[in-house]
Symmetry: C2
Subunit: 366 residues, 2 copies
């Protein structure tokens, strides 16, 4: 656990890590300023599942991610990823600068073989009790068709490993269902996903373009989009459900009858609010690295941090990484088919990410 | 009223036009197959505000908009726009192929001077009773920075004229609030809007980038985005509010206590559902033409058609077109400033839209 990343670090990180350790969710190493972490831990009896690893520097929201990587060699974020690379921890959780989490992950861990760019995954509840997995939620703002198609593979794998769907139904987010809709980018990605879905052991069933109105109807398991649109989808979904809940609250205060009804329905509505609430869902996994990383909201409270740690533990136990690596290897050659823009750049092996070109390519967000 | 556009035309169009005429909302000319319209009107006494204009052809959802314009010269859509151009009607309402509405509007009416591309506007309710105006909701999938900035002007003007905001607060939809976020496109549009807002009679106050989570919090009056993202925002907002309402319904059936509460709160919740419901909001105005056009959903029922007609009448009475023309003229020169990509194409006057280049350029959607 990067203890120094969030807006109010290290308080919520330390409290959340303690909750996770005490609940037996995971063994947690708090990485960061030892003195401040110890102070936040206080003198209470400490869970044996909780330890501290000192790191003297902090990557801030204002830092340029690439520069921070080169200049802050003892940052809590970098040290956390180095522990992961050394096999001392299974996953990194951070509530810090998400662009920095992405680039530190890339520079320290590198990508799984065949992965072009890691993507951020988000999981949403749907009304029929199923979940919807989306990728990319903001790691890559300007993307190529091959990346977009891979985000589909990530989302589908995630729905398979975590959501238990044998053959997830995958859609590509667009502005209309017909294949002539969309942009040049989505049309090229659509062609790649169509041909990938014909693979005999395809990791998914491909539904083609899906529209914004369809996402939460329960017939879609996984959706891919670019990080710009994905970030807007993520935050808008939050915003709209908040707005509807506020509108309902107002309506339930509009008459004595509605007030009484609201009072009786309150426990049911509160349980729904909890289901939708960000803090309960946990962090957003960053997928495609040679290691697991989970990004929590900068304003995470201890419960959100605990849920982020729990999500990381679940992904590790479910074997997301080997399953994903396998799926990418299986589908990899299809990305090179006709319509793939990756051809322009020559063989994949020649352009493996190095810290310097990674810093140049990465347009982070979220 | 293009009587032949919708999925179930002309039934809902005729019934909706009748509702509008009988309510005194507008005088309506139903344009389309006279025999089928007369049959749908039936033998009941007809409002003097309702008339029929025969047109023998229909533009379908499968038609290529540009080809349909050239080959179907007597289509209901084309004839409706020609009536508008001739000054015989004030606005065109259609539930047809929105790409075709856009291109027919462009070819028949042309653009207001200084307008690069017309945009589709949508108006959303917010929890505090205010409204949020967004543009473009799907007319232009691939855009330039100058177009994106103009969509901001359209949305702001709309919020001014229709929403009664003296100086609307305008935001540019992005994946983060900081100005280094976004894409190359949004950064260029952000620079244009920043400089436009410094104009002494700026039509808006510019808030910079806004995120998806902020849209419905009530502090933003107008938002601009490209038509790809805008279409997803429009449909996702619909989808999320539907999903939340369905989740609430399920929760209100989860226990006897919740059931009783739900029963008592039902009228209040139904009135909210109506407020959010698509049919009640009416159509989406297409803004930037030398004439008014309102696009209704293909599956519009008579009430939605009536609301579309009412929206067109309101825009006409409020003088949206002259106000918009004035704002574009006032802000026009600012689009030519540094960072404007319109410079690439030479002076605006030289590239006034002709039917053939219009058909080529327009990548329609929605």
């Amino acid at each position: 656990m990067d203890a120094m990343g969030g807006d109010n670090a290290p308080g919520p990180e330390v409290a959340g890590a303690r909750l996770a350790a005490e609940a037996g969710v995971a063994e947690v190493v708090l990485v960061g300023d030892q003195e401040r972490i110890e102070r936040a831990l206080g003198s209470a009896r400490r869970s044996p599942r909780l330890s501290v690893r000192h790191a003297s520097e902090v990557v801030t929201m204002e830092d340029n991610p690439g520069q921070a990587y080169r200049k802050k060699r003892d940052s809590s974020l970098r040290v956390a990823f180095e522990l992961c690379k050394a096999g001392k921890v299974d996953a990194v959780v951070s509530a810090g600068n998400s662009g920095a989490v992405l680039s530190h992950g890339l520079f320290v861990l590198g990508r799984l073989p065949g992965v072009e760019r890691p993507g951020i995954v988000a999981v949403f509840p749907t009304p029929n009790g199923a979940t919807l997995t989306l990728c990319d939620m903001g790691a890559n703002v300007e993307v190529k068709a091959t990346m977009l198609a891979q985000f589909g593979l990530f989302a589908a794998c995630f729905a398979q490993v975590v959501g238990g769907k044998a053959r997830p139904r995958l859609g590509l987010l667009s502005n209309g269902a017909e294949s002539h809709k969309g942009t040049e980018l989505t049309r090229a990605a659509d062609a790649l996903l169509c041909s990938a879905a014909e693979h005999p052991d395809a990791a998914f069933e491909y539904l083609g373009y899906v529209e914004g109105s369809e996402l939460f109807r329960g017939h879609i398991d996984a959706v891919c989009t670019d990080g710009f649109t994905g970030n807007i989808v993520l935050k808008l979904s939050e915003g709209v459900s908040e707005a509807v809940m506020r509108m309902i609250k107002r309506r339930l205060e509009s008459s004595p009858r509605a007030k009484l009804g609201g009072l009786l329905a309150k426990p049911a509505l509160l349980s729904l609010k909890r289901e939708i609430d960000y803090a309960e869902i946990g962090g957003a996994p960053l997928v495609g690295l040679r290691g697991l990383a989970v990004i929590c909201h900068g304003r995470s409270d201890p419960l959100a941090i605990k849920n982020g740690i729990a999500a990381a533990a679940r992904l590790s136990e479910a074997g997301l990484l080997p399953r994903l690596g396998d799926a990418v290897a299986r589908h990899g050659r299809l990305w090179e088919g006709p319509g793939s823009s990756s051809k322009e750049e020559g063989p994949r092996a020649e352009r493996d990410q190095s810290p310097s070109d990674g810093a140049h390519h990465s347009k982070e967000s979220a």
